[in-house]
Symmetry: C2
Subunit: 359 residues, 2 copies
């Protein structure tokens, strides 16, 4: 009897809390707010690539390019609370990252001209009513809400106080930079969706970075080159040497560049060397395989730079430090590793972009 009473109290307590966080709220469809981060328009709002137009992806790639990594809603509100009601098509749930990164939201609010962390939460339910933040003052606030990085979303409604206002905000970021890459770029093992290295660089620099990270599938394929060739961009950044083998890099690099160059003849193409994977510390086979990739990447980009002066190579000694404390699973950096990655490439990127008056 005592146990049942305790249990009932807990349930009632939780219901009260949920009620206080979500009662007397009104919901507006997020389709009426500004959605940033997509390299091209898509019929399904929260997809990154139109898989009906680009039909030569594998089934796995079709899922990856429709996941919401890097997408964000921009709005202004004076609500004291913000909730998100999502219908998920599919939700990521891998062991090497948080649910918050995979199917959660990551909210920033502008303060003193900077994007200050406000809240990040997640709940593993396809019909997902998520109270994100409460107890704010009711001044007008500019909000940047990053969507989940590893889930496919059918619809989103934003909940605010019944009497509060909400309106769409213009994209707060400048220029159009597209980044194509591996799970590192997609944000695998980042702690929340806004803490992938491209989005840290975005908020730090104010430069607009659209993310085509496709976990495990950034292999210099023509299928992706065609999507990028069709996109409108001032700059392309590539994390293109993390997924392919040395042989694939050798075989595919030139034609990958050629396809993009056909429609972007002089746009800067910035290739990043891949990172040191911590699994290499003792796994001799992984060490050899990874070093071969890095050697081939360096060789092939340096060759390309000889005939194309708008190709660049970012090749720091180690993006994630030399103290070997930054890995989550031997492959993917932790939040510490991604932070170091962002801080390492920021000055290198800015130096290149300055030549093109992108600043």
């Amino acid at each position: 009897m005592k146990r049942i009473t305790v249990l009932l109290c807990v349930i009632v307590g939780l219901s009260d809390l949920l009620l206080a966080q979500t009662s007397n709220m009104r919901y507006i469809d997020a389709k009426d707010l500004n959605l940033i981060g997509k390299i091209t328009p898509t019929p399904q709002l929260y997809h990154r690539v139109d898989t009906a137009r680009y039909r030569d992806f594998t089934p796995n790639q079709n899922i990856l390019v429709t996941e919401a990594a890097g997408l964000a809603l921009c709005f202004k509100t004076n609500s004291s609370r913000i909730s998100v009601h999502t219908y998920f098509h599919s939700m990521g749930n891998g062991a090497n990252m948080t649910g918050i990164n995979q199917y959660g939201y990551d909210l920033y609010i502008k303060k003193n001209k900077e994007w200050l962390y406000a809240a990040s939460k997640a709940k593993l339910e396809k019909d997902n009513l998520l109270p994100l933040i409460s107890n704010m003052d009711t001044s007008q606030k500019e909000c940047l809400l990053y969507l989940p990085a590893f889930s496919v979303i059918d619809s989103i409604k934003i909940g605010i106080d019944e009497q509060a206002d909400i309106e769409s905000l213009p994209n707060p970021f400048r220029h159009r930079i597209i980044i194509f890459g591996s799970s590192f770029t997609h944000g695998t093992s980042a702690n929340r969706s806004g803490m992938s290295y491209p989005l840290m660089v975005e908020r730090d620099t104010g430069l607009y970075i659209m993310n085509l990270g496709v976990s495990g599938n950034s292999k210099l394929q023509q299928s992706f080159a065609r999507v990028l060739a069709d996109a409108d961009a001032d700059v392309f950044i590539f994390d293109a040497f993390s997924n392919p083998s040395a042989k694939e890099i050798e075989e595919r690099f030139d034609s990958f560049v050629k396809t993009i160059r056909a429609s972007h003849p002089t746009t800067p193409l910035i290739f990043m060397q891949t990172i040191y994977r911590e699994e290499r510390n003792f796994d001799k086979r992984a060490d050899r395989y990874e070093q071969d990739k890095m050697d081939m990447a360096e060789k092939i980009v340096k060759k390309a730079m000889q005939y194309d002066k708008n190709i660049y190579f970012i090749n720091p000694k180690n993006y994630t430090g030399d103290d070997h404390v930054t890995s989550t699973d031997g492959i993917h950096p932790s939040a510490l590793g991604y932070y170091r990655w962002a801080k390492t490439i920021e000055p290198l990127l800015l130096t290149i972009l300055k030549k093109y008056h992108i600043e």
Copy 2:
């Protein structure tokens, strides 16, 4: 037909890989290896507290104190591969951390006198055969294998090459330091189990830190004071102000100290201030509640220091930086936040411990 063929190839491919990683291995029961990190012996090997002896915990606390946070196996082997076969009693699966931290393993190997990261992996299965690392050279290696931080374990077997040796290693760490604390100490939102801040300090300093982190339940209770009073320790560290309210801190602090002091009259008691929770940036109620706790903690420890010269207060301005980039869920630090926490307290701890010739 094509799809079935592809699927079969994938399955066969995966089976081949698993076979190569686990075939011709022999398994030894980990009970024959040195298990470190427990403050007292327990009948159930992988529990941290004997819940048959200490009977005034809540059901939730009974689970928390039997989770394997901070425990590690010490052994030496010349195997080229290491696998772990675990029978889990229960496995954590919260949205604010990785599976690798909750139900995975975190392996370090001694190199140049330091513990170098080797591998960390996880699989969400109760009967859990986990290939951890392959392709190593066959020199003798000293291994430190941290157990999962949020799971209760019934048994563990370590798999090595059929022809390889394995033997138990003495505890590589010095002195006996017990830390009692909240989810922060338990390691919530750390990326892997060895990256909680106490274990980072352990590997950095060589000091032996036994972890009684009990997520959400470090509230200066007599139930925990009695466990600590019975334990053998050179030093106690407390993350004791993260979970209780200001009122609970005021009401419970003196009697908590008194119970421990009854059997440890002059042992150094080092109390840490709690950290700034990033949810405070915009949630006014959380901001007030947390500041009240911190104010009360500072007041009450400073008062205690006047009559007990072996009580200390660690109170840095902010353990996790002032750039607001270190949170996973508004409460718990990310890997970046825990790294900064460890690096902030290390010199402060070492200065105190030096007075007691603990170094």
